[in-house]
Amino acid sequence: MAYAIETQELTRLFKTKSKKGKKEIVKALDHANLKINEGELFGLLGPNGAGKTTLIKILSTLLLPTSGDAWVNGHSVKNEAHKIRKEINMVSGGETSGYGLLTVRENIWMFSQFYGIPSKIAKRRIDELLVTMDLSDKANAKVRTLSTGERQKMNLVRGFVTDPTTIFLDEPTLGLDVNVSRQIRSFIRSWVREQSNKTVLLTTHYMMEADELCDRVAIIDYGKILACDTPNNLKRTVGKDSTIRLEVSHMSQPKRFAQMQGIKNFSYSHDNERTTTTLNFIIEDEAVVSDIMSEIVKNSSKIYSLRKTEPTLEDVFVSLVGRGLK
């Protein structure tokens, strides 16, 4: 069976310089193997620097792999880039690309012409997509006058106007407010559901986004694919264990919990504004909860809340790598 996207032992190394000026090799992708079916909305979940963007760059023909190979719609990224480019598009989040002197409509139209889309069809699609993205009133505004969210919406229209067979969305909701993010997620979901032959590869470090949108999710860290399955199946892998979330007053050294017996995995985060610390535990036996409480009290911290939660993709990540996504 031919896959929409397939990678085989895909590896990408970067040469960098350390703070001391020494040359270092960074493994952005480490023998990554993926098989993504046609019509799938596939998520790549991992923290910053995990290798998500590198993978998208290779698949979208911006970057060559160091070793291994990848195929998009059956074409090799190494020597059939020109064939791939006719069938793909890409949108990167958190950037301000676009020709500021052109209007939104002109920007999108111009890119559509690079894909050979007849002008009439392009104009119709642009109008439809601008309505869907709630950006119609900005159609004739110069790009330089747009807010970050509006630019991101414009870039999504630019990506979808060419009606690609496969689209790469690199953190498409990065830095956007809740409403805009929700709008974008809803659009992506309906786009891929309405057309059976379309494939979306979406990278994110928002576990909720991956959970809500994706048919399947691969978890990536330090360039390695650690797990790949449906969100539910992934969550089931930590399902037998209990996930306990505690909010306590600020703790200076929460790492010590990782050493406690009966704790399978542990992560924490500080909220400096509220001066609180959130502790996430994956535990095999709930009896350990009393030990945790005692330790917190011994530490003179106050307990604000305790919740037993359903496992999330972040819990999956924590159980795989032993630390949180952020």
């Binding site: 970067f14 760059k57 979208s60 023909t61 911006l62 970057l63 060559l64 020109h82 480019r85 006719k86 793909i88 598009n89 890409m90 950037e95 301000t96 690309s97 676009g98 020709y99 500021g100 002197l101 052109l102 002109e106 111009m110 890119f111 012409q113 690079f114 894909y115 050979g116 630019r158 060419t162």
Partner: protein, 282 residues
């Protein structure tokens, strides 16, 4: 089909180039700017010439310099303009990666962006020449111009300059924003060695030999012959016009092929090193 697609990309990238060049102000100010800029640049050279020659603004040498300087605008503007597109699209607009991953042929895209420069420079050259004829008495007789020679040499020269622009575009893919200085350096080499201001016969022997390998030398020689019928440069005036055109044709073809290959190599290494979407914030 491929030609039609190529023409479409050429048309749209030219349109984009035109928007970038002209859309920054209102049309009236843009017209004034387009008129004043070439005249001001020319007057700078004219004033320097007057100072050096102690008041002379006539004679064959002045005409030689004036026309050389007018047509050199193409070298500076087009060569610099085509390669600057890479830096501008990559670092400022951050759109290069989206153009790059589209099916658009990147050479045609760069050519299209350069077309606007060619058009605007043509306007500047015409303004400069008209100013020269009517204000500085440059002896150009429209009835005696060799138009076929002017047309052929003009096209060949532009192709050569665009080719060089594409080559520098390939090099620009590998360099950060300050790599734009390479373009200035290359344009400076042509300014010095191609007989733009002074005849190459005044250069030392080794420089003259180098000049005779550069197609721009033959381009300016052919342009001067087409406009004035004669040329004052003793290093080239003994070469028959047919030979000048032949040398220009062959060197342009070779330069163009070389330029495309330089771009291809630059493209390969940029993709290998991950520089297509590099932003340096320099």
């Amino acid at each position: 089909m491929a030609i039609k697609a190529g023409l479409k990309i050429l048309k749209n990238s030219s349109w984009l180039g035109w928007q970038m060049e002209s859309n920054w102000t209102d049309p009236f100010l843009f017209a004034i700017y387009s008129l004043v800029k070439p005249i001001a640049a020319t007057l700078l050279i004219v004033v320097m010439y007057i100072v050096v020659t102690m008041g002379q603004v006539q004679g064959t040498f002045f005409s030689h310099m004036y026309i050389g300087n007018a047509f050199y605008m193409y070298v500076a503007q087009v060569l610099f303009g085509v390669s600057w597109v890479v830096h501008e699209d990559r670092e400022h607009y951050r759109t290069l990666k989206y153009v790059y991953i589209s099916p658009a042929n990147i050479y045609i895209y760069l050519l299209g962006r350069g077309m606007t420069k060619i058009f605007l420079t043509t306007v500047s050259v015409i303004i400069t020449i008209v100013f020269g004829v009517f204000v500085l008495n440059i002896p150009i007789n429209v009835m005696t111009i060799d138009y076929p020679l002017l047309f052929i040499s003009f096209i060949l020269g532009i192709l050569c300059i665009v080719g060089l622009g594409i080559a520098l575009g390939g090099i620009s893919l590998l360099t950060a924003k300050h790599g734009g200085r390479i373009n200035e350096g290359v344009a400076g080499i042509f300014y010095l060695f191609c007989g733009v201001i002074f005849p190459i016969s005044v250069l030392p022997n080794w420089c003259r030999s180098f000049s005779l390998y550069l197609p721009i030398t033959y381009w300016l020689e052919a342009i001067r012959r087409a406009i004035f019928g004669i040329t004052i440069d003793q290093a080239t005036n003994f070469i028959p016009t047919s030979s000048v055109i032949s040398i220009l044709t062959v060197s342009t073809i070779l330069f163009f092929i070389l330029a495309l290959n330089i771009f291809k190599i630059g493209d390969y290494f940029a993709r290998k090193k991950g520089l297509i979407d590099m932003t340096t914030a320099y």
